[in-house]
């Protein structure tokens, strides 16, 4: 059995079926990210694992023991809350040592553990301060420190970076990843940001409407999405997804003409922009976004009376093209995804 296992976990809020039969096995030391749009149930699932929400159906297992009905205080899990949830009336040191004090751990041991955690997180200078006197980034580190000190079986992070400004977010992302490497602790991390998912995870769990869409390593999800939702959720800019009838030429190119009511997916970096005349899809440039290292070209395949389809192409060289220019688009061989009417992938990309 895996270290942390969910078997058929269910949750209802009144009439709403919020979590629909989740099965998941997490190995010891893994960094697993729950990602998905708002309302997909990722936070709820995390809280169910933490014991802050009751589990209505199914079972939860940790290190061989069933903990489905066990109180949060007894699960040996630590959670870093989105709002940090620091105890406002306690100093940083007391915040971090609270759990150990409750467990009546020897004072000298507590002191040593708090010191060590504070060093790792650069908090030694702030140990006697109260949360009110700290900045957002410092408070977040205290929240992490509170979890580290306990050396729990699993770390749970609930969107920890969403309250930080952009610069701090990037930096803290690195620190959390580094921390995981050093401590090797099993971690479940919830976020709505797919960049965090891609960069930090050993495995990513994509959730939608209370069910798992796909589980896999970040690159697995990127290269071989199981359905249209995952394909469009992972990757910036979003994958180009076009209905087969809308662009029969493209359907022909990728060999999907036989698929009725299907969709074709091509990532922007697999769309090549040729001068007009070359390339199998004639199009006109609508928008050019020059980001410096990358250039995004939005081109529309005018045709057949109706509006045509806009494809995004991405290249890492600058372009001389201008808005309105005629171009010819093409797709790299074996770089496309075909989805059926329900969105499931039909033909693998490679």
């Amino acid at each position: 059995m895996a270290f942390l296992e969910l078997k058929g976990v269910e949750k209802h809020f009144g009439a709403v079926h919020a979590i629909k039969g989740i099965d998941l096995a997490i190995e010891k030391g893994e960094f697993v990210v729950f990602v998905g749009p708002s309302g997909c149930g990722k936070s709820t699932l995390l809280r169910m694992i933490a014991g802050l929400e009751p589990i209505d159906g199914g079972s939860l297992w940790l290190d061989g023991r069933e903990i489905t009905r066990l109180a949060s205080s007894k699960r040996d899990l630590a959670m870093v809350f989105q709002s940090y949830a620091l105890y406002p009336h306690m100093s940083v040191a007391d915040n971090m040592s609270f759990a150990l004090r409750l467990a009546n751990v020897d004072k000298a041991v507590i002191k040593e553990k708090v010191q060590r955690a504070a060093e790792i997180l650069n908090l030694t200078r702030y140990l006697e301060r109260t949360p009110r006197e700290l900045s957002g980034g410092q408070r977040q580190r205290v929240a992490i420190g509170r979890a580290i000190v306990r050396a729990p079986k699993v770390f749970l992070f609930d969107e920890p970076l969403s309250n930080l400004d952009a610069a701090l977010r990037g930096q803290t992302r690195l620190e959390i990843a580094k921390l995981h490497r050093e401590l090797g602790a099993t971690t479940i991390y919830v976020t709505h940001d797919q960049v965090e998912a891609m960069t930090m995870a050993d495995r990513v769990v994509v959730l939608r409407d209370g069910a798992i869409e796909q589980v896999g390593s970040p690159l697995q999800l990127y290269d071989r999405p199981a359905n249209r939702f995952v394909a469009q959720f992972i990757g910036t800019p979003q994958m180009n997804v076009i209905a087969t009838e809308q662009l029969p030429t493209l359907a022909g190119i990728v060999g999907a003409s036989g698929v009725l009511d299907g969709f074709i997916g091509v990532r922007p970096e697999h769309v090549v922009v040729h001068p007009a005349g070359r390339g199998r899809l004639p199009a006109q440039v609508d928008v050019i976004e020059s980001l410096g290292a990358d250039t995004l070209i939005y081109a529309n395949t005018r045709g057949n009376g109706h509006g045509g389809v806009t494809l995004i192409a991405r290249q890492n060289t600058r372009t001389d093209l201008k808005v309105g220019d005629e171009v010819g688009l093409d797709v790299l061989p074996a770089s496309f995804h075909v989805f059926d009417r329900q969105g499931h992938v039909v033909a693998p990309a490679h």
Binding site: G51, S72, S73, M79, A85, P88, L102
Partner: protein, 271 residues
């Protein structure tokens, strides 16, 4: 230009304030006068202050009694009120059910009935039970009067504790009692204090029930002051001294807790 506006505004604010507060200032001055100075025509702004009026008031055989009664009834009703209101507010804040809101509204509505509506029955009950002119009777009535407001204020204060801090405590291994002891109690101290202060103020100033349910034995300072309504001889300085001693502690308390007190009295309807 801006400076000029500031000066005008400041002057206006100060003048208006001093006008409004003037009666109190006059009270304070008169307390330190002799009776002759108190009724002097034209009124004296400058005089040598004396404590003789305070001394005379204190000599009154019933002054200490009434002062003691005020202290006892205020403090006891506050403690009793907290003992009853705090658990209820705690339950409503942390064990919320579908009926919690209705119950809270109902409790507030009991405060909205005019005291005079209950005067007759309460008087009759007090008379039958032999509780007229007793500290016990007064304390009970004060407690009941203030209970709705206390429940309300404590409830608001408890609700202000962020729920995720309690969850963090749970994750850290605290059981229900641990949550209360380590998180709720320290964070709710402020609310308990200001609610207690409010009850103290309301009970101390309580005049309706004091005047109707008590007289010589259990009367509070409110009734004592009322006895200066038309005594014989010169009494203004003594009245001022007695009033000053009676109102000073409460006014000072009011200075320090204005926001919370008014919050309590408007049932939180104004943010």
């Amino acid at each position: 230009m801006k400076h000029f506006g500031l000066i005008v505004r400041s002057a206006a604010a100060w003048v208006v304030t001093l006008l409004i507060v003037f009666p109190l200032i006059w009270l304070v001055l008169t307390a330190f006068k002799t009776e002759q100075q108190a009724i002097a025509v034209p009124p004296q702004l400058f005089f040598t202050p004396t404590l003789e009026s305070f001394a005379e008031v204190n000599l009154r055989s019933d002054y200490l009694l009434h002062a003691g009664n005020s202290v006892v009834t205020s403090f006891l009703s506050t403690l009793l009120g907290l003992a009853i209101a705090a658990p209820a507010a705690y339950s409503m804040a942390f064990f919320r059910t579908k009926r919690t809101r209705d119950i809270l509204m109902w409790m507030l509505s009991t405060k909205m009935m005019p005291a005079v509506g209950a005067l007759v029955p309460v008087y009759v009950i007090a008379q039958t039970a032999g509780m007229l002119d007793t500290l016990t009777g007064l304390t009970f009535v004060f407690t009941l009067s203030n209970l709705p407001i206390m429940v309300w204020m404590l409830y608001s204060g408890f609700k202000d504790i962020p729920p995720d801090i309690l969850e963090a405590a749970r994750m850290d291994g605290a059981n229900v009692w641990g949550e209360f002891l380590h998180v709720i109690r320290p964070l709710a101290m402020g609310t308990l204090a200001s609610t207690g202060l409010l009850c103290l103020v309301l009970s101390w100033n309580e005049a309706f029930w004091s005047l109707n349910l008590s007289s010589a034995k259990a009367g509070t300072l409110a009734t004592l002051i009322a006895s200066y309504s038309s005594p014989e001889g010169l009494f203004w300085a003594k009245l001022s001294a007695a009033s000053l001693m009676a109102i000073a502690p409460i006014v000072v308390i009011g200075w320090f807790s204005q926001k919370q007190l008014v919050q309590g009295l408007t049932f939180g309807a104004v943010k």
